[in-house]
Symmetry: C2
Subunit: 447 residues, 2 copies
Amino acid sequence: MSDLHNIDPELLQKLVYDALIWSSLHGLVVGDKNVQRSGTVPAVGMVHAPFALLPVSFPESHWRQACELAPIFNELVDRVSLDGKFLQDSLSRTKKVDAFTSRLLDIHSKMLEINKKEEIRFASQELNQSILVNILDWILERFLETLAVSQFAEALAKAWTEYNNPRAVAMVVVQPEEHNMYDQHWICSVLKEKHDVTTVRKTLAEIDAQGELLSDGTLLVGGQEVAVVYFRAGYTPIDYPSESEWRARLLMEQSIAIKCPSISYHLAGTKKIQQELAKPNVLERFLENKDDIAKVRKCFAGLWSPDDSNIIKDAIDRPELYVMKPQREGGGNNIYGDDVRKTLMRLQREGTDEDAAYILMQRIFPTVSPSFFMRYGICYKDFGISELGMYGAYLRNKDKVIMNDHCGFGQSIFGLTTLHDLITCYLEWAVDKEHVFIITEQLLISQ
Amino acid sequence: MSDLHNIDPELLQKLVYDALIWSSLHGLVVGDKNVQRSGTVPAVGMVHAPFALLPVSFPESHWRQACELAPIFNELVDRVSLDGKFLQDSLSRTKKVDAFTSRLLDIHSKMLEINKKEEIRFASQELNQSILVNILDWILERFLETLAVSQFAEALAKAWTEYNNPRAVAMVVVQPEEHNMYDQHWICSVLKEKHDVTTVRKTLAEIDAQGELLSDGTLLVGGQEVAVVYFRAGYTPIDYPSESEWRARLLMEQSIAIKCPSISYHLAGTKKIQQELAKPNVLERFLENKDDIAKVRKCFAGLWSPDDSNIIKDAIDRPELYVMKPQREGGGNNIYGDDVRKTLMRLQREGTDEDAAYILMQRIFPTVSPSFFMRYGICYKDFGISELGMYGAYLRNKDKVIMNDHCGFGQSIFGLTTLHDLITCYLEWAVDKEHVFIITEQLLISQ
């Protein structure tokens, strides 16, 4: 594996060809951004999803550790999301500098005011492109058909069953233009074929236009009762170009439909909350079992607010050990290297609240391996990092925990020079030579 | 069905969407000719295969008739192909005016000279796009996965088994650029997964460059022994741009590999031979059973050589009842209406041998129904004709007939204004209100 330049060129060509054929015959496709309408009309302008041709070995112990942590972490996030005061207090400074988080907090406040109960709570990591895009075709098949898609669909179907109205639908909240629509369609297809659950796809604007809230909290969209709302849009400010989208988000939140995620889960997943959880004695507020606490703490990467003067000093001295991330979700705007030093010094100089818009993280240096990457039918060699994505699912109806497990995993291999094209994960585990880390986005660490 | 303008627009939109999703997830795709590399690199520039959205009802009696005829016709073609003199004599005039048929006849002559025996003979209608491109998604699924592809793959696998060398491969002869590659890949994929038969894809030029004939007749291509040759190219003169391609065709013919089709089968499928078979007392040379003869004759459309003065006179008087077709395969150059009259009069005037390049056929007027057609993600209404494609398979090892059956069928619906885009079938059954016809290409009859 490490000697990729010794691979037989003919064998490589055959692997490339077979993998491309497999992708095209089994719907491992995305919309090609170069083709008009490919983000709106299905089956037009398709190209294989980018993928790594070969797997990278991964220590079994790390995989076990991730499996063990998944239910503990699910429980933790559920409890954090129930603590409205903790969420509001922890995010109070962020609220001032981040208009997006501020709007989410407003909706959250309204729910606290009306004492909105979420009797059925459903959380799941976002199924993401990374789970679909790697490894030899037979592994791809296993992933796609056996693990990720079908297990996630099963989790959604269980949530739908708890809602207990066979005529209600599952609604996928989508972006108006979505080149990555096909893995969404896979989930909907499995939901229908295996679980007889009908799905509808709606943009936030459509939900605003067609949505209706009955007095008992029932959510109707286009006249159809919605049991489960699965957000594949709504995580970044650009998904809310007008008040219409915010009205839709509020409408859904007020309803009794099961949200994946609800606003409190969404807030519990922010980096700022992770940072709070990393502080001494905070995990203890939410978990009782000492072993569990130790396990979770062991895998936290260092996370600090850029108002801790000791850390700031160290980060200015040794910026290569840190990464600065914008508080708001979306990824791709991380600050590395000498820019960390410059940004911190500027923030110190200006002395405004802007520092609250960032968090400072320990920089993780995962193992880098040479890999073959496929994009637009072309195979090229690049250094890549391997990442284990563990997809947890948690479903609780009042006091009854119906599901708390990992629901499939994906090993993702990212090319260092093409990272910007890949989608941000919601929650993943990263691994370096020694440790498993919980991270809220993909670790985009280049050498 | 006949009242398509009364269809609920919302239902229609949903059908369109679902059908597009199904196509994209299940590999019902073709290369988009507007996208560079889409005919050479798999998984790049894909778009759904064009299809008709709704089925058209089809009389069960016609379907039964076609099923009944398939094995008789298989037998007939096999016997005709064995009669080298009949093939050479029937095509002697064609040879003078059609360079392509002439080259095929040359190869055929060489095989007669060396008294080449084809101990294992395999014939099958070409699986063609039309079988993949119609009807509601659940029917599509049944067609694609249950009937056409898997049954055709099974027939190929049986031929491969008769060859009796587990290390030999099946070779698909392909065009250098092929936008319709994915249904070929489906067959190869099923061959591998269900029957553990490895396939290779080679162009005629590659076969010339990499092919080798051992003294025992074994065909090696790129060092691999070939058990079965499946031609998806080689049916038109443009597939033979140089002597290299003809050398490849001869090499394969000389080998003991099972050809689908062999040169004699290829010649037996020409329109001229069909025309000969339609003459009085010719069927009787090849079939014994009177019932079988009557059944086959009943479904022959009128077929004449344009040297029969009575027919020429009638066709000049009533050209709307005839269609003139070039003798050579490939389709698309048929002559209709007043052009039939003009062409016949010109041929009479000139008095050359050029008339041998054409055959004259009774024009068939199939039932025309309004249909919805999908192309590039767009649904449009057009009148269409429905056609039943019956895919026969015949396999014989010396005197033992191993397979003689229809191996799946497809109901194809062609939009009258877009026919030129569809691929020519090798052999099909056409149906008008009263009859089933055997035809050698799609009946492209517009009102």
